[in-house]
Symmetry: C2
Subunit: 432 residues, 2 copies
């Protein structure tokens, strides 16, 4: 019998992280890491899980948007979906009435991403493979057929995407073997949250170095004196060789960003992340020209492939930080990985939050195996929070992600956690 | 006693326009013009009304987002709001958790716009003035104090905004008197919807010319042969002097747009609107350079002031088409009007839908009175639909908007229409 999507269920799951200032930064002082979560039920125990990451209030908007989009999947055969991945994607992001609410951005795009990623989880599970290996096993033609090239064909026509993938075919098996053996480079953000006191930052950074981390990111942008003191502290712990990233979470205007990064230069920041509005391509380009040799990184709020296209065309960034569910899921991530390769810009996925580390490891491993022209400057972000809630959590060793080995996209949250953190009915929210 | 916002009510109102293909274009084949509508209740009969325009499905997302943002207004004094307009605006768009869902774009920004515009409706009503006159009576310092300059100060620092307004002070009274007497130039989109047959387009265009319209917009982008035939038909009706605008509603990729506009050139299009993705600043810039002398217009999907800033900086557009509720309401519109003036780019507001004509007339009249450096090339879009549902509908004479005279923002929908078109409970939706 043909397998088909029988039902889609959506859930509002929130973790009360604001109680401990985990994840605090200059723009986001009190996040409750949350997920609009969905399960595609294909019967016979075959499910696809997906989520879109949120910060608490408004998660219900994404949950409801998932419910509004779900009828586009219910009743479809799994084979039919696998055979028309770009078409399914365009159906989800191009609803003729809901498109107005984005288009391809904000709540409706975040919701589409949860569903899209649930599809890929389901397909990889059905194939019995971790998502990154499922992707790596697809032929270049199949990868290209999963991408909607609308509005990016001027920078990446399909035939160029195909050429890039074919060019990377030699050595693919060896790269996959090396990734499975050695894992993938990473950096950690867990030491440098803005809400943490200095002594906590120091002890966390010392522990990170002892654990083998060679790159740490700190949050900046609230008060320059604090930033300089913390940067000195972290550089002291790191020594001259390890990398110190900085992340301003969009709080600066363009000229202010240039001045502030200049002040941080004595501590040799590897990159400045989100120095200004995530929408400001031209502003990033100006900042990049001004703050060299400090690199400019952005992407966690980059809403879609059209914006990434321009960040690359304008030579506005040194590092493309894809997000697994800000972009419209795997299909759109594939488009951005290929554009980044075409522009020879390394991809360092955004992670942290809840589930983002689990998600992006698959994307980074696939990129390293099949797309990226070089391994240079490529790292996956790491944050230590909330992995205990996942059925197949990330595994870190000496500052590297180990290759995920279980089938699917690693995004499945344990049933007991889904129940305890259900908002507002779960036990974690009792009395809140 | 100090007046304060006592309650905020939100409504889902949908008009079944898709039944008649009104408003159909190449991207939006079947819109149900809708509104996420809100009423701020300040007691003693003082209310502020606002809406954000939508296309049907998903309107409930905006309604719920309004409800989530409403607590930021309830309990605030009206005087306090009027005295801190930029602060209130930033509270609405900068919620530390909901901001993640945009930021400043999509559902949460559309919802904020409804509330912001309801505030301005309330303030103008309290002052007993139509909004455009209320704005025109504000001192330049007060206008500047209503604007959040975050992320645009590189293009428009507050002191430059102040200077622009002061430079335009001479002659303001005379311009206001002329606007009150003669109205404001406009063009109509009501003849050229893509779903209409040729004979309907011809008869509507002939009627429009007979009514004194000198500029008509047609929808293009679905099939070139159809576009060429309709453009010939409309040029025939219009004669060589009247203007023919074209609107592709984002359907083309960059190179395709250039080719298609080239093919339309024999019919002398005044502008091409939304030739590609509304996010593609660099793409618009390339199209603009290629299709001269045809102008490039965009803005109805331009999500915020940061995007408009770049469209202007990149010299990507000839015409800035602000939307009253895609941007975050009046405050953000003010920022864009001033940036457009700084870059000497005419503003031709996007209208149509439901309520957009009522909204934008106030913004265009204020712009003409107090901001725009010249009257050249400035027109308000007009569409004939759904005005009968408004308490204070637009008034058109010989192809011009007459100045709104009643107090407020003209956006109040009649109670009986709010009831009949309430979704899904209203009589218009019975049996749907």
């Amino acid at each position: 019998m043909t397998q088909a999507i029988r039902a889609v269920r959506a859930f509002d799951i929130r973790f009360p992280t604001s109680r401990f200032l985990d994840g605090s930064d200059a723009m986001n002082p009190d996040p409750d890491y949350s997920a609009a979560y969905c399960i595609l039920d294909a019967g016979d125990g075959l499910e696809g899980h997906g989520l879109t990451f949120t910060l608490g209030r408004g998660t219900d908007l994404c949950v409801h948007a998932i419910e509004l989009l779900a009828p586009k999947l219910v009743g479809r055969s799994v084979d039919g979906i696998e055979g028309d991945l770009a078409g399914v994607w365009r159906d989800l992001v191009g609803d003729s009435q809901m498109r107005w609410l984005g288009p391809e951005k904000g709540v409706v795009h975040l919701a589409a991403a949860a569903l899209v990623n649930a599809i890929w989880d389901l397909l990889a599970k059905r194939a019995g493979a971790p998502l990154w290996r499922y992707l790596a096993a697809m032929a270049p033609e199949e990868i290209v057929a999963a991408i909607d090239f609308r509005h990016i064909s001027d920078a990446l026509p399909p035939e160029r995407a195909l050429e890039l993938l074919r060019d990377r075919a030699p050595g693919k098996a060896a790269r996959i073997a090396a990734l499975a053996r050695d894992g993938h480079p990473a950096y950690t953000t867990s030491a440098g949250w803005l809400g943490y006191p200095d002594d906590k930052i120091r002890s966390l950074a010392e522990a990170a170095v002892a654990d083998g981390w060679t790159a740490i990111k700190m949050k900046v942008g609230a008060a320059l004196a604090d930033d300089l003191r913390r940067a000195a502290l972290l550089r002291d712990v790191l020594g001259p060789e390890r990398l110190l990233m900085t992340d301003a979470n969009q709080v600066w205007d363009v000229d202010q960003a240039i001045d502030w990064v200049e002040a941080l230069k004595p501590f040799d920041p590897y990159w400045i992340e989100e120095p200004t509005s995530p929408d400001d391509i031209l502003g990033h380009a100006r900042i990049r020209r001004a703050v060299r040799p400090v690199r400019v990184a952005t992407g966690e709020h980059c809403q879609n492939r059209v914006m990434f296209k321009q960040f690359l065309q304008a030579e506005a960034i040194d590092v493309a930080q894809i997000d697994a569910c800000r972009l419209g899921g795997v299909n759109e991530v594939l488009a951005v990985l290929l554009m980044a390769a075409a522009f020879e810009t390394p991809v360092c996925p955004h992670a942290g939050g809840v589930g983002l580390c689990e998600y992006v490891q698959h994307l980074a491993f696939f990129d390293a195996a099949c797309v990226a022209p070089s391994a240079e400057g490529r790292m996956i972000e790491h944050s230590a929070h909330l992995h205990e809630h996942f059925v197949d959590p990330i595994r870190i060793s000496r500052g590297r992600y180990l290759a995920p080995e279980r089938r699917g996209f690693s995004i499945e949250i344990k049933p007991e956690s889904r129940e305890a953190f259900a908002y507002p009915s779960g036990s974690a929210w009792a009395g809140a």
